[in-house]
Amino acid sequence: MNKEWRTTGDVRRTTKGFCSVEFFKNPNIDFLGKKWYFIAFSLIFSVAGVISLIVHRGPNWGIEFRGGTLVYVKYTHTPSLDALRSELDRVGIHNARLQTLGRAGSNQVLVDLPQETTTEAALENPRDQIVAALTTNKVPNKQDLNNASVLAVSKYLLDNDPLHLATDAQKRYSDIAQSITDFRDKSRGGLFSSFNDLNGVADPAVVASLQNGFFLSDFGVYNTVIVGPQVGAQLRGQALRATLYSLLGMLIYLAVRFEWIYGVAAVITVFHDTLITVGAFSLTDKPISLTVIAAILTLIGYSNNDTIVVFDRIRENLKLMRREKLSDIVNRSINQTLSRTILTAGLTFLTVLALYLFGGEVLHGFSFALVIGILIGTYSSIAIAAPILVAYQDWRSNRSTPGFAGQGGTKVPQSGSGRREKAKARA
């Protein structure tokens, strides 16, 4: 048997005998030759996003931007949305949107009241209004322990004094109330299903007293957000301005560090990434919240990283390979940096993926934006940014010397020496 182990190029033997892993050893892919595929790919996604945005009449803004009321409710059982809707209807809340949240079995419902319903008067206490509507087993003259605040419990205990405390009653009862609500919120996930849950947590006399003044509903409110109309408009403007300032900042920095066309190429690329990311939110009907804007701004900065790596290499190669065609230099630069482009993006993607999978519901939109954005950003720094440089160069030489397009020796503007050379050539 003459079986042999051979390396396939993925595993390199170093002189000392260590094996080290390496992806993309000396890749030689003609990226520029595939530009029509890339353009088609980008167009499909951008246009799909834009169409979706037009159909939905703009982005699906999150509560912070559009105003309104969100009440997050958690049930002890799987709630029927139709039943909830009719309960809300009964108290005059007609246009609420109901939505189940989280994994199946987490029994969470989001009640979403649009801005029109969130009038100034309703702003005073929509939470209580919704809680009242959802409470089906209301007991007269009793409070709901699942939706009672620490203050309410503490006040009740102080008024009823089940432990007959002579001194320090206020402090003691407030501590007891705190421990009861803490137990409810931290150990029981925000809900008691029966007063027996309290055995061992509080003194039996306290539990008995609570039973006299409280009942248990089958749900608890774990988060409410109420945003007035003014704030929303103000924030929308700010978000758009921040995004534009960010793009402008990139343009200026890259124009200073490289040449203006590099800045323009990078900003077009990042704009493309932003458009596709926002489009993905529209296509999947996910709201764009404040943290999503934060993610998009971060992406504007981060997407540029891969682009800069490629640009840096193009600039370096331009000095080394004066005689080559620009498209060859760009192609080689992309190939030379391919492994680090994929690795850096891949590692960041790994952490973002962890955030998306395990980071919980609150960060869902944020991490979704990053997941999409990093994928698109990496693709575009290879497929969009560098080719723009070549396209610009082709366009320029086409314009100045028709008929000589594609001839060797075309120069892309480069900082310092390049510019002087051009000047010399002209002179």
Binding site: E22, G249, G301
Partner: protein, 540 residues
């Protein structure tokens, strides 16, 4: 070179110790189990790093102060002064109005002022209303307008005072670490954050309740503490007296002994304004209702020479002597009042409540169960993401992977230590910022290592490959960091609470990364190379 390396190692160890102190404080026997436990519950941060509202649970309110209310109060007062002054100067005008109190509360228009009355009017404004400008128009119409500086002062004053008043009331809730501060840039908004409070209705009720204003007899004080006050009276307070704390704005703790019964209450007051006494010192003039004036007269005529305390929400604001019996018009004057204090006091007397109306713009209540879930999820994602990156680096780069992992861990230590030192608030997006710092920070190592590999492939010796690798990658790393930090900075300027936390975390994480991924990593490489024989390969 070895000597150089020694100094660098000492610097690195010093940085580690410094920032580890920022996270943990002085170590007090932390066991491994407790640490892991603390990490998961977020308890580890309790000393240095504060948890944001989204992690701790609590109420977040944004209020709009209707600052025009405060301007209206001032200009209404000015209208009265003008009416009064013109009557005394016997100037007959046709009409005095405020044409647009909703949008231009600072404007007063006088119509039909006879030409011979204009000098009297100008004098009146110069002497009695120094904060107003006047301009004459067609048809004997005069426009009296509050000066722009005075307008903005009054508006800012209204916000400051609203914050102060709200803070006093929130104190009654006994909330730990409440945040009550101006929000936004010049929008006259107030941010109220109350960790652990999940009953916004109660908070709103408290904020909007009118303040309790009383004028009581001051029987002694100020004392530096309650004990000092007791000592002064041989341990027993008079039956009809009580101790009351001074205004919270005062530098030291102050206690006053005041009568239990109030001479006048807030509802007895009709108006108050500032003025100057015969010595040119600021004073506060106030007007009582008829009934309140009668009571006040009975009281003051019996207590000439005694002191009166102005008490707002059970806090003594000001103490002054009774010079003469006062009926329904009185004044509070005294050498120690500044113009600003007089203005504040007048405002307090006048409004008794908040200086201006309040509108709720935004309300968020994060239940404590959600906060706990968020911490668990956030920490879990951070740990998984970080472990994945660490393992990948080890497999892909072998010994150099150890180098990168050490640099990465140090990066985290510096970041968390920084958060501890600055007392920064860790929010859920902030945790995301930590995770992203890991993912983006390791990019620097990758850029350097790939370059070193490339140089090695081109036949360079390990020391020169390391030299070249760091040299070439450095420029790229600076560029990539700058772009990310620029967008984080814009995010910081634009964002609110949690998002700001994210921007701060990311920015500082990436700055620390320049130190760890470039400097520290280089030192480790140099150390490794210094222990190798010439020509021996580098594990990368």
């Amino acid at each position: 070179m070895n000597k150089d390396l020694g100094w660098k190692v000492i610097l690195i160890v010093a940085v580690i110790l410094l920032f580890a102190y920022g996270i943990f404080g002085i170590p007090s026997g932390v066991s491994g189990g407790a640490l892991a436990d603390g990490l998961l519950s977020g308890g580890m941060f309790r000393n240095g790093i504060h948890l944001g509202l989204d992690l701790k649970g609590g109420t977040n309110l944004i209020l709009q102060v209707q600052v025009n209310d405060a301007i209206n109060v001032d200009s209404d007062n000015a209208v009265e002064i003008l009416k009064d002054g013109l009557r005394k100067a016997k100037v007959n005008y046709a009409e005095i109005t405020k044409p647009d109190p909703a949008n231009h509360p600072e404007q007063i228009v006088l119509k039909g002022v006879p030409p011979d009355g204009s000098s009297a009017l100008r004098d009146l404004i110069q002497n009695k209303l120094p904060e107003y400008d006047s301009a004459s128009g067609a048809n004997d119409t005069w426009t009296v307008t509050m000066k722009p500086t005075a307008v903005s002062d009054t508006k800012n004053q209204a916000v400051t005072q609203a914050i102060e008043t709200i803070r006093n009331r929130i104190d009654q809730l006994g909330v730990t670490e409440p945040v009550i501060e101006e929000h936004g840039l010049g929008q006259y908004q107030i941010l109220v954050q109350l960790p652990g409070v999940d009953d916004p209705a109660r908070v709103k009720e408290l904020i909007q309740s009118t303040a309790m204003l009383e004028i009581k007899q001051s029987l002694g004080g100020p004392y530096s503490s309650q004990d000092a006050a007791l000592q002064e009276h041989n341990g027993v307070l008079p039956n009809d007296a009580m101790l009351m704390q001074g205004h919270t704005g005062s530098a030291n703790d102050e206690w006053y002994l005041v009568s239990r019964v109030s001479a006048v209450r807030g509802k007895d007051l009709r108006d108050a304004s500032t003025g100057t006494d015969e010595n040119g010192q600021p004073e506060v003039n106030f007007v009582l209702t008829n009934e309140g004036g009668q009571r006040f007269y009975n009281f003051t005529s019996q207590h000439i020479g005694d002191s009166l305390a102005v008490v707002l929400d059970n806090k003594v604001q000001e103490v002054a002597n009774i010079k003469e019996p006062i009926r329904d018009q009185g004044r509070i004057s005294g050498g120690r009042m500044t113009q600003q204090q007089a203005k504040d006091l007048a405002m307090i007397l006048r409004s008794g409540a908040l200086p201006a109306g309040i509108k709720y713009l935004d309300e968020e209540v994060v239940g404590p169960s959600l906060g706990a879930d968020s911490i668990r999820a956030g920490v879990r994602a951070a740990v998984y993401g970080m472990v994945a990156v660490l393992i990948f680096m080890l497999i892909y780069y072998r010994a150099a992977g150890v180098n990168a992992d050490l640099a990465l861990i140090l990066n985290l230590v510096i970041l968390l230590g920084f958060l501890g030192f600055t007392g920064a608030t860790l929010t859920l997006p902030g945790i995301a910022g930590v995770i992203l710092t890991v993912g983006m920070g390791v990019d620097s190592n990758v850029l350097i290592f790939e370059r070193i590999r490339e140089e090695l492939r081109n036949g360079k010796t390990p020391p020169s490959a390391v030299e070249q690798g760091f040299g070439h990658a450095w420029v790229t790393i600076v560029d990539t960091h700058v772009t990310t930090i620029v967008s984080a900075a814009i995010l910081f300027l634009f964002g609110t609470g949690p998002v700001k936390g994210f921007a701060v975390t990311l920015t500082f994480g990436l700055l620390a990364n320049l130190f760890t991924a470039v400097f520290v990593s280089r030192v480790i490489f140099d150390w490794v190379l210094s222990r190798k024989r010439i020509g021996e390969a580098l594990s990368i």
